[in-house]
Symmetry: D2
Subunit: 339 residues, 4 copies
């Protein structure tokens, strides 16, 4: 069976990872890379002499040999490129978030159904060993009812030119929570502040409310001197610290039930800092994007639904859009229509 | 000159630290300890045979030999005990926060002025080497205009029986921000959630807004499996990470200006994680409470104003009261009357 | 039953801990503290008004009310003081190491048998939750045959005036290995270097050889800019990292069998850094010295053998004496007479 | 000017890094890759369709278009391949250590002089930002006279099939010390132990002695459950901790002079853990191998001496050979002929 031919659009920060992973994959070949910068295209040529380079998207769209388009361009361009690609009967993998509006996301989904092509969003985290392990622990009820998820995702810069920090960083957390939890939030609150004339928030705090007394909070910043990737997941039975910057201890499971802390000898617990043992499971070290690429290819070949499907992609955009409304209205609670 | 005689009220979690520090101090003696629990009083007797123990507060109030009362009882009792102590012409050191209402705090302040006795709140953090060093760096403009303070103060339990997590933990951050910043917040927002039938929030997020584009955010939790004490302070020139759990590197100063990240080679910066050098100044290891106790005694002997004075104490209660209003109203912005 | 009366000799670095722990203990009272420095004795008086202070050791020896002597003076003085104490029919707890020569250690042991008094050495580590947990894991064969123990015990200063760094720091590791392992070393090698005119080694490396292919290595330094307390324990089934500076994760158990690394896919393992899960058991947070003090008192009252008995104390001195011989002879292997 | 044509011999663990870096370099092209494994050659073809693959070394040697040979095969094969390459007038970059004997190393050096070709050893560490920064600090006397270097280089496996752990891991430390210090060691001691039937030591401790009272100690292990890359460098003025596993704080400079610890208030210092400030300089994040590759190419084009030249390469083999002698003789001190 011949390889799927993939064209990668955009060879900036993420594009090279797409090229590398699709190249290493069985069943797929990167035939073309599109970018407007000649320098970047030069880099492609040096590393991958067999890949055709061009600055013309149309040329790619017209090329019927190409089966799939992988989009790694700025968010504001996702909709146009994905739309054209689907209209030209190509399968689409689009960088997260899918679009910068719910309206556009829904349009793309309808279109992909109509032309019967795969539309998949690149939420890479869902394919990491850490998130897969946490999903397993939640699904087999090792943690008990989830009470909170508290994420800190801060670092210095790479300012996006066309969106605020939530669209850039919180998109990860929202996709992870959507994937992990069996429940969708009913409302969204967000507060942020900007320290550049661009007026895009470079610091923002997002809160998700649920019908259960779950609460999700995400702390995002582009102007932190230190890089932190902490996600705390509190269950009634056990709690997890997911530290993505750890090499060998990314996921720590705390045998901790905070009910216990209501006993009379709380102070001992305080002095002790924790109640139970800690377990650090071995997790797969496979690069998430490598499995995501494989899932994309398989969903095309087997006509199956990928893990990072458009439903998750749409939910992420819904919540981001609502967060933007909330920020503009000083953190007022925005309720999500759930359909 | 004879030592000041101090009676410590409450020998639970914090009381023993007060007794130890006032005992070690020049110019002061702990003459009495009051607690309702005979067991706790027994502990006092075993360690300090010379200290008189009693379960009767009135006996202490009537005792004209006693110069000062140090209150380490639950928050809801602070007002009554402090009021009686002042009415009996005793100087008062009260555990933070001063009271559970602005009304009561103002009453105590008026009363202390009337009887001309010291009223001081035990905001110990202000006396630590770390906060003193940070204050120095802000005052000599090493950091430049402060853009944000982001604090994470989470751990497992020691649930307070009479207040939520903000009154317990955020009280520290509010006192620190009040001490460090030359500006008071104009409004407060808070969101929280409770996971016990007590309905006191065990997780809460507090945001302070300022006339400048400063933003302060505090993440508090009693139900985290890990203890974290992170305070990020972002200035236009430099940024600080204050990690109170570090033994020798509590305060790290990052020579980082995020403007730089807007240059064209952002991606290099991202790959590099930080722009400049890091400096970790040596700070005093003296126990904060030891210096606070000294400041209390000196403010009495020299009729001077202590660092942790009632103005800071009142401001903390103001913000906590506003945060409670905001929580009850789903995070609506509460504006502070500034007088 | 009346409390045992204990006199503490030496109120420098360690003495205060002895006083505090014996004071808090049931069945024992600290009746006297001896020190040549009036300032130190003042400190005692301020904190413990009921304890008699004196600079005369003889006065203590003659005092027949005193049951026990706890010695916290420089190593070179241990033998004289302990000898006199035993001759005056007092039980003895002596700071580690017991003496600075095997000859003296054996003399004290003989004497303690003759006068039928307890002679115990203060190897506090044996009473910590961490070492007790590791002992349990070795005894129930969770780790399998031990292949190596590798300890790094380095920090800045507190130079001892009368011994080198091995007598100060390695004494801990030797007592721990003697306690944990079912086997005594057959030979000792040590290399060191001095950077002060005192000519006492401030850096030294100790290696112990066993009949099995076990190897123990200890890296000690008084001139390291960072404090490290790492002990790696490699078993055929599992391995342990004991990091004494960790608050909540002192003992990590690695489900790692290095045989596995001989398989063909070594490189995966390398990329992965570890093979199995990590388990961090909850350990007791009780202060080791508190339990040691209790064990001392109980061994007197119940005429039982304490954990940190004179056999371990003697073995530590044997190995230290051999290490000194080896250092003086450029690391030549010194064989231990095993009786 | 046409690119230098490079053939990479061996595409196992390190070979791919050589191919990637020489490919990205100006002035050089990887024209051929040699490996005996068809699978590995397949990987090359998939990633680099333009590179010719072969399992025949002779074919490469005969090919006069090829200017350079980069050798990334097992140590025991270095001598034969390098010798043939030089005899065929090719420049040689050989994986560290250069050879497994001093005799062979000297032969290769003589040969390279005779044929006037570059012979360079791949001691990548010398080209890292961290080591370059430390070299700068030592050369401008920021640290003062160096008193010790203490390195811990332990991890789990990747057992070498033909040498012990010193030839694999300590080779790094020896090359670094040779590069950093203005002084060569006068003698070598090593102790090790093996836990496999291969009888190659998987744990080993190396000590280097100098005419000054410098001491260098290296702790190497293939059977540690944790990966540690700690190098402590103690100078009379300042001390350094180089932690290669840190992302942004690889080099910490401690403003610490241990003389200070001899003052009377040692105990305060101990309680404080360190004396002065810590400075963490920003260092270059460039991949060491990328600069090494460039240095190799430039040394050919400009007929200059590379940083990682054969003198350093020879010194490393000298010390490793001596360490092996010492291990076989229970750690006896082996003196190095210094010419």
């Amino acid at each position: 069976m011949k390889d799927l031919k993939i064209a990668v659009i955009g060879y900036g920060y993420w594009g090279p990872n797409l090229v590398r992973n699709f190249t290493n994959l069985e069943n797929s070949t990167v035939s073309h890379v599109v970018d407007e910068s000649p320098d970047r295209l030069e880099k492609v040529k040096k590393l991958y002499p067999d890949i055709d380079i061009t600055c013309s998207l149309n040329q790619i769209l017209e090329n019927t040999d190409i089966d799939c388009i992988a989009i790694a361009t700025p968010i504001s361009t996702h909709y146009d490129i994905a739309k054209k690609a689907l209209e030209h009967n190509k399968h689409v993998l689009v960088e997260k978030p899918m679009t910068n509006s719910v309206k556009h996301a829904k349009e793309l989904i309808e279109l992909s159904k109509k032309v019967n092509k795969v539309l998949m969003v690149d939420h890479t985290y869902l394919y990491t060993g850490a998130i897969q392990k946490i999903k397993e622990l939640i699904d087999n009820d090792s943690l008990g009812e989830i009470q909170y998820i508290d994420s800190t995702r801060i670092n210095l810069g790479l300012f996006q030119s066309d969106v605020n920090v939530l669209w850039d960083l919180a998109a990860h957390d929202i996709s992870i929570c959507t994937f992990l939890l069996k429940e969708d939030p009913i409302s969204v609150q967000a507060i942020g502040s900007s320290h550049t004339e661009s007026n895009f928030e470079d610091i923002a705090y997002l809160t998700l409310h649920y019908n259960s007394n779950k609460i999700v909070h995400v702390n995002c910043s582009w102007i932190s001197p230190v890089k932190i990737r902490h996600m705390l997941i509190g269950g009634e039975k056990k709690m997890i610290l997911f530290n993505d910057l750890e090499t060998t201890e990314k996921v720590k499971i705390y045998d901790t039930q905070y009910q216990a802390t209501k006993s009379s000898n709380e102070k001992k617990i305080l002095a002790d800092y924790r109640i139970g043992d800690i377990h650090t499971p071995k997790i797969s070290m496979r690069e998430g994007l490598s499995w995501l690429a494989e899932d994309f290819v398989n969903s095309i070949l087997n006509n199956s639904t990928p893990i990072s499907n458009y439903k998750i992609g749409l939910q992420v955009v819904k919540i981001l859009e609502a967060s933007q409304q909330s920020i503009k209205n000083n953190g007022v609670e925005i309720f999500l229509e759930n359909n």
